[in-house]
């Protein structure tokens, strides 16, 4: 009986960990996108200065 309960608790833990991993992925994606955007802006600025 308790084995089932342990497995349920494990499932709950796994779900939470998966959710954390997804959030990490989202945050990293946002950071990268923001950095990319900054980078593009910087290049555009550079190119404009060259013109």
């Amino acid at each position: 009986m308790s084995v089932e309960k342990y497995k349920q608790a494990w499932g709950k833990f796994q779900n939470k960990m998966t959710s954390l991993k997804k959030r990490k992925h989202e945050i990293l994606k946002t950071i990268s996108e923001k950095l990319d955007k900054q980078h593009i802006e910087a290049i555009r600025k550079q190119m404009k200065n060259h013109e």
């Binding site: 494990w10 960990m17 990293l28 950071i31």
Partner: protein
């Protein structure tokens, strides 16, 4: 890689990551628990590391390209590690919760004479199946035992032997812990009595004082030495002068000098005065001699102290020896006698007025009180092989230890003065021996034993013509014999439950181990037990068991006096290693006591008896007693009186009004409240002249005289009603019947209230009632 491509492509998507699974095949909870814990640790650790690494990586990139990471994003990434840690803790908490529910459902811890020497821990599963574990430890301290499957009717079914591997599982389920909770008598070391010498007694009983004295002596010796050297130097100086004292004073002589008494010193002083020392020298010498006198005095005082010390040590040694001689153990050994305490089976008689326990106490409570508090009790001694009487019933306990206070040849009618105190004669060991050693046929004697330690529980048997021990007489019918056997075994089982070995006592006061009883009442016994074995055997419960049982007794408020209830708490506190001076009863405990012992407020503390809130709560249980014992000020409190009246139940043993202080009884307002509450039998006669009071009394008597309740004749017939009414003048009654019957309003009110009857005062001044209608 295109430099404009978002870096997210380099991040593994969670779905694609490796999935750490706890093996589905694991069915052992312990194994599963361990795997889950370690896997969770691994996963959270890995995740936290990934968060750190990812952050470093994006920071490196930002730095390289001269970019800035949004602070909030950075913080969110850092927080993920903390969240992962919290998730792991949550899992660990859940694991702990589940683990707790894995414990076996223990439904009882008991002993069973079929499994001698074992403690049976009974468990029940969700389907209601009861399994017992008969557990014991062998001589090496290792577990042994059996698993018992019980039938639905409670009978023992199949029994299996337990193996080593089973005990670790039983340990996890908390079953082995329960074994320890079962009471068992404790091992003892019995010392042989001997009188110690003064020196030995001083070392053993007065070690602190001895150390202090030794220190004083050392200090005194040192001071003496110092004074002597000063004097020696001065005298040597004096000897250099031709006019000095004659002869040389050696060290030895100085020492002797120091020991002389003041008379001798005076002589020397005189001699010094007559010598030709100069004034200063003579003065110094006198001072030195003065010091010697003082020193000698201190030595004498020390000697006296030493003598006192050894006299005291000797007295203690003698007292200790006498106490040992008066112990239950030594008395049994010297006189080859048992000391027993019997119980009456009739609960109405078991606690007479000599007892400090209420009649609510069951036999089991009595045994618990004896085992836990080891109270001062009344006992009797019997010599095996003799026909000697015992007080009371067929069951009792054999004492293995305790301190005998005194002995009387017959019933001494001793009474308790607290849990640890019982009055009665104080006897010497010689007097005790004279009576206990008596082997003649006699009735029961009475010994008061303090701090009794129980060795075992006995049940008396008879001997039939064939010499069999008989636990009950054969009733002739199977059913009756079954009942009688159950009744016999009931006490044996109770003894086993309490950890007391069950014993059998024969009419000639021999003691045997109980083995079994047949359906016809024939008792089988094991080895015979001698007083010496009892004296040296296990007796009394260990302190932790005494504490546990004692706490249960305290919660039942079984003592007749609240002081004994407090003493019980003090005993338990001391058993637990606490100071008894710290024991106080809380208000809740006083209330619980008031609830369980109605009317017993008299020994409550004064401040509680004056506390209106407390007394009103206590009045819930017995309002009249609450008023009776309320403090003087509270007794006069109008609100308190009204509230008590509102609580007062019918058929109380006395009225509230009668318990009031005299000055209050003359108060018209108080009297009106009392009458309103039908408490008007004792109203003070001085209030008869108060129209308000009299009118109220008349109204109440009219209300009380409802003829529908007592008129026993037919319509048209008459009946005389006895209508006497008394008021009080001090302790005497004042007959107010005539005033009542001559009061026209009384008859008028009766006729108005009960129109189906006619009330009139006849020529004999009696109240005559005629029934007019149904």
């Amino acid at each position: 890689m295109n430099r404009f491509e978002p870096t997210t492509e380099t991040i593994k998507k969670p779905e694609a990551q490796e999935n750490h699974e706890v093996p589905r095949s694991v069915e052992n909870p312990e194994e599963l628990r361990q795997q889950m814990t370690s896997e969770a640790e691994k996963q959270t650790g890995q995740f936290k590391q990934e968060c750190t690494d990812d952050l470093l990586r994006v920071e490196e990139r930002a730095e390289k390209d001269g970019l800035l990471i949004d602070g909030e994003d950075k913080k969110a990434l850092e927080n993920l590690g903390t969240e992962a840690e919290a998730t792991k803790k949550e899992l660990e908490f859940e694991i702990a919760l589940i683990k707790n529910t894995e414990k076996a459902n223990i439904v009882g811890v008991t002993r069973d004479r079929n499994f001698e020497g074992s403690v049976i821990v009974k468990t029940e599963d969700k389907e209601g199946r009861v399994t017992g574990y008969a557990l014991r430890k062998n001589s090496h301290g290792d577990w042994e035992g059996n698993e018992i499957r019980y039938m639905k009717d409670g009978a023992i079914g199949p029994v299996y032997q337990l193996h080593e591997a089973d005990f670790s599982k039983l340990g996890e389920q908390g079953i082995l812990d329960s074994y320890e909770s079962m009471p068992a008598m404790k091992e003892r070391t019995i010392e042989s009595p001997e009188i110690l010498s003064e020196k030995e007694a001083s070392k053993k009983f007065l070690s602190e004082e001895r150390k202090k004295l030794a220190q004083e002596i050392r200090e005194q010796r040192k001071a003496q030495r110092e004074r002597l050297s000063v004097l020696k130097i001065d005298s040597e100086e004096a000897n250099k002068s031709p006019e000095s004292m004659d002869g040389e004073l050696e060290d030895k002589q100085y020492a002797q000098f120091a020991e002389r008494q003041s008379v001798e010193v005076d002589t020397i002083t005189e001699r010094l005065s007559s010598s030709e020392l100069n004034d200063q020298e003579a003065s110094d010498e006198r001072e030195n001699i003065g010091q010697l006198i003082a020193s000698s005095g201190e030595i004498k005082s020390l000697k006296a102290k030493l003598e006192d010390h050894y006299t005291k040590a000797d007295a203690i040694a003698k007292n200790k020896f006498e106490s040992m001689q008066k112990s239950v153990e030594q008395t049994m050994i010297r006189n080859n006698a048992f000391i027993v305490h019997t119980f009456l089976l009739d609960e109405r008689l078991r606690h007479n007025e000599n007892s400090n326990i209420t009649q609510r106490a069951t036999l089991e409570d009595d045994i618990d009180i004896l085992l836990s508090f080891e109270p001062s009790i009344s006992t009797s001694s019997v010599v095996p092989g003799s026909r000697q009487g015992l007080w009371g019933g067929r069951i009792g306990v054999v004492l293995g230890g305790g301190d005998i206070r005194g002995i009387a040849q017959t019933d001494n009618g001793t009474v308790t003065g607290g849990i640890k105190m019982r009055n009665g004669e104080i006897s010497s060991s010689k007097e005790i021996d004279e009576k206990v050693s008596n082997k003649g046929e006699r009735g029961y004697n009475e010994l008061v034993v303090n701090n009794p330690e129980v060795f075992g529980f006995f049940q008396n048997v008879q001997i039939d013509k064939s010499g069999n021990m008989i636990g009950f007489e054969d009733a002739g019918s199977e059913q009756d014999n079954k009942n009688r056997k159950e009744d016999f075994l009931k006490y044996i089982d109770l003894a086993i439950q309490k950890g007391m070995p069950p014993l059998i006592m024969t009419p000639d006061r021999r003691l045997f181990e109980f083995s079994s009883i047949s359906n016809e009442g024939v008792v089988s016994v094991g080895a015979e037990i001698t007083p010496k074995q009892v004296a040296k055997g296990k007796a009394g419960l260990p302190n932790e068991k005494r504490t546990a049982i004692g706490e249960q007794i305290i919660a039942k408020n079984l003592f007749r006096k609240i002081d004994d209830q407090k003493e019980a708490k003090e005993i338990i506190a001391e058993l637990s290693g606490k100071e008894k001076s710290g024991v106080e009863l809380s208000q809740e405990e006083y209330l619980a006591y008031a609830r369980d012992n109605q009317g017993r407020f008299h020994d409550f503390p004064k401040h509680l008896l004056e506390d209106k809130n407390f007394m009103l709560e206590a009045a819930q249980f017995d309002p009249v007693s609450a008023y009776e014992y309320a403090g003087d000020n509270l007794k006069k409190d109008m609100e308190f009186i009204e509230r008590v009246y509102s609580l007062e139940k019918k058929n109380t043993r006395s009225s509230v009004y009668s318990l009031m202080p005299d000055e209050l009884k003359k108060n018209e307002k108080i009297a009106l409240i009392a009458i309103e509450n039908n408490d008007f039998e004792d109203i003070d006669s001085t209030l008869a002249d108060s129209p308000a009071v009299w009118e109220k009394i008349v109204d109440k008597i009219v209300e009380r005289n409802n003829p529908a309740k007592w008129f026993s004749r037919n319509i048209g017939e008459q009946q005389v009603v006895g209508n006497t009414f008394y008021m009080k003048k001090g302790f005497s009654g004042v007959d107010m019947t005539e005033k009542l019957t001559s009061d026209a309003s009384f008859v008028q009110k009766l006729n108005n209230r009960y129109p189906n009857y006619r009330f009139e005062i006849d020529e004999y001044k009696q109240l005559l009632v005629t029934k007019l209608a149904k």
